[in-house]
Subunit: 204 residues, 2 copies
């Protein structure tokens, strides 16, 4: 019905997460009708990103420099490493602006079903970084899923013996969350990890 | 948190229909992690489409040639024109493979609210095409919305006096549709346009 160029464009757009065949067609039309203001700038941005973005050899983040902006930033505490499953998790924590240390991206989770073993993740590199005498704390920020927690346990085992403090993110009520809508597991975890609110200061 | 190249990529991806800021981030990561199999082919397809695709000067379709493949195809009946609002509608009818004539894309609908008047749509060109002595039928396939039907009425008025048959798409039950879930307007239209099923042949 249309040229092969449009067909191929739609086919490839449909492989983006969140876009199916129908929305890929809409996206292609949207681009073709906005050539100057969107299509050409997007092509340019994609070309720039494709040629300049690489994986940080230290933490596994994606950036246009290696080591990445975070690893190269002297203001980021080098004695704290936050361990995440994926780059998207790193970005999410950065958006919260609640962490001023550095990161380590595992690149996935252990999964017997998917055939992902310890050698498929960036665990050896993490152990090496954790062995740095200046290292103080490794924060495990894997997802609160079975695979995420299994992976965290495995990492804890691998870090055993090193003189670093190993912590994990707290589980509990999401801020703004309502008890009535919370699942039982989260509620149980929130109850178990309850903290004192007296002026004497809370316990973990 | 990441290089300006990634930020810009995410920003532009978020302007695609169906993608918000969050899904644009996911899409950008998806692309960056699949450089060889998806990112570079997509950049190539976009570059090819951006440079070759143009608007057909006859019907308003998008294609890599002008006149477009449909207008240039001698097997497509030149005496029938199907009038649609947008290119997406043309593509939808083509997918149904139920029409072997040619098209005319209006480029929108009349809308006092959005300040779209007759001169903003490709109506004069349609009247010119309809005036061709070989032209037999103009099928109005605008959406069954208030704006779509208003636009259809206006086009009918503009075509008055020309020796062509002007028709519109039937309204009724969608194939596979259930009466119980149908809105009253559609049900009324389907009832009003009922057809005889005797062997003598149905009436419109």
């Amino acid at each position: 019905m249309t040229g092969p160029e449009i067909e191929r464009l739609i086919q490839l757009l449909a492989r983006l997460p969140g876009l199916g065949p129908r929305s890929a067609r809409r996206a292609a039309l949207h681009l073709l009708k906005r050539r100057e203001v969107l299509f050409l700038p997007l092509v340019e941005a994609m070309t720039a990103a494709a040629s300049s973005v690489r994986t940080c050899s230290v933490c596994g983040n994606l950036d246009s420099c290696d080591p990445c902006t975070i690893c190269a930033n002297p203001k980021r505490d080098p004695s704290q490493i936050c361990v995440v499953e994926e780059i998207a998790d790193l970005w999410a924590i950065e958006r919260s602006a609640a962490f001023r240390g550095r990161y380590h991206v595992l690149g996935g989770v252990l999964s017997a079903l998917d055939g992902v073993g310890p050698d498929d993740l960036s665990i050896a590199a993490l152990v090496r970084r954790a062995g740095d005498p200046a290292m103080k704390e490794i924060i495990l920020a894997t997802n609160a899923t079975v695979e995420g927690q299994t992976t965290a346990h495995y990492v804890v085992d691998r870090l055993a013996g090193l003189p670093v403090r190993v912590t994990r993110l707290a589980h509990g009520l999401p801020v703004g969350g309502e008890l009535d809508y919370l699942d039982d597991g989260t509620l149980a975890a929130a109850l178990q990890s309850r903290r004192a609110i007296s002026s004497a200061g809370g316990g973990g």
